[in-house]
Symmetry: C2
Subunit: 141 residues, 2 copies
């Protein structure tokens, strides 16, 4: 319904995997330690990212996760959709509620427009963008 911590945590983990692109798999343990995310929660998150084809996992010793696509080919929208589902800025936009279908609802048209703008914007940003913006912010001390 909104962008929850799942998406935030997922994005953090994906940043690490992006740095490690073409390198060794990274385990849940490493990821959760680096970003201070509760292990079992992150486990769930990585599973969902895998089910949506964003990462791939290797089992057993030395295993972990790797990006399945280039960082520049993974959009924020994909990530958020994988973890929080399609954005419904307002409750009444939630798929499954009749509100948006009803004739003469004064507000759903405008919310749909705003919602669509947001989705478009998220679709225009990729994991590479996130990395470079992050780099720019880092003040070398």
């Amino acid at each position: 319904m909104k962008v929850t911590r799942k998406s935030d945590y997922g994005l953090r983990a994906l940043c690490t995997l992006a740095r490690q692109y073409n390198g060794d798999p990274v385990s849940i343990g490493q990821l959760s330690a680096e970003h201070k995310i509760p292990e079992p929660f992150l486990e769930k998150i990585m599973q969902e990212l895998r089910e949506h084809g964003l990462v791939e996992a290797t089992h057993g010793r030395g295993g972990g996760y790797l990006l399945k696509k280039r960082p520049s080919h993974i959009s924020l929208r994909e990530i958020v959709h994988a973890l929080d589902g399609p954005i419904a800025l307002v409750t009444c936009l939630d798929p499954g509620l009749k509100c948006s279908i009803e004739e003469g609802c004064p507000t759903s048209p405008i919310w749909e427009i705003v919602n669509e703008k947001l989705e478009e914007y998220l679709a225009s940003l990729t994991l590479s963008d996130v990395m470079s913006i992050q780099e720019r912010e880092k003040v070398p001390s």
Copy 2:
């Protein structure tokens, strides 16, 4: 934190008041009946809109609410801010959480950018826009 039903209900009520601009005050009873919003809840909402200077109330018999500004001078952003506070698309953007201040947080910079875009867009839309979009949608049957 997100756009809740309060903002949606508030916007609906404001649409009615916009139609009634320069007319008689509209009571909670009328508004809640027209939009099927629980009366005591809408009461709270109208109070908050008044506290933020978007509407004015008159007491007693024949009383109710009126817009305090022209519909074209009331932005969606104002309405949402009055009822749900500043938008924090992601939990970590909530004012009061340190996350956004921490050095080296990989995600908060991007969320801030997206959040700002959304706020800007909401600021660009007014109550008049909402009315005309609604009008356009109405399919005369």
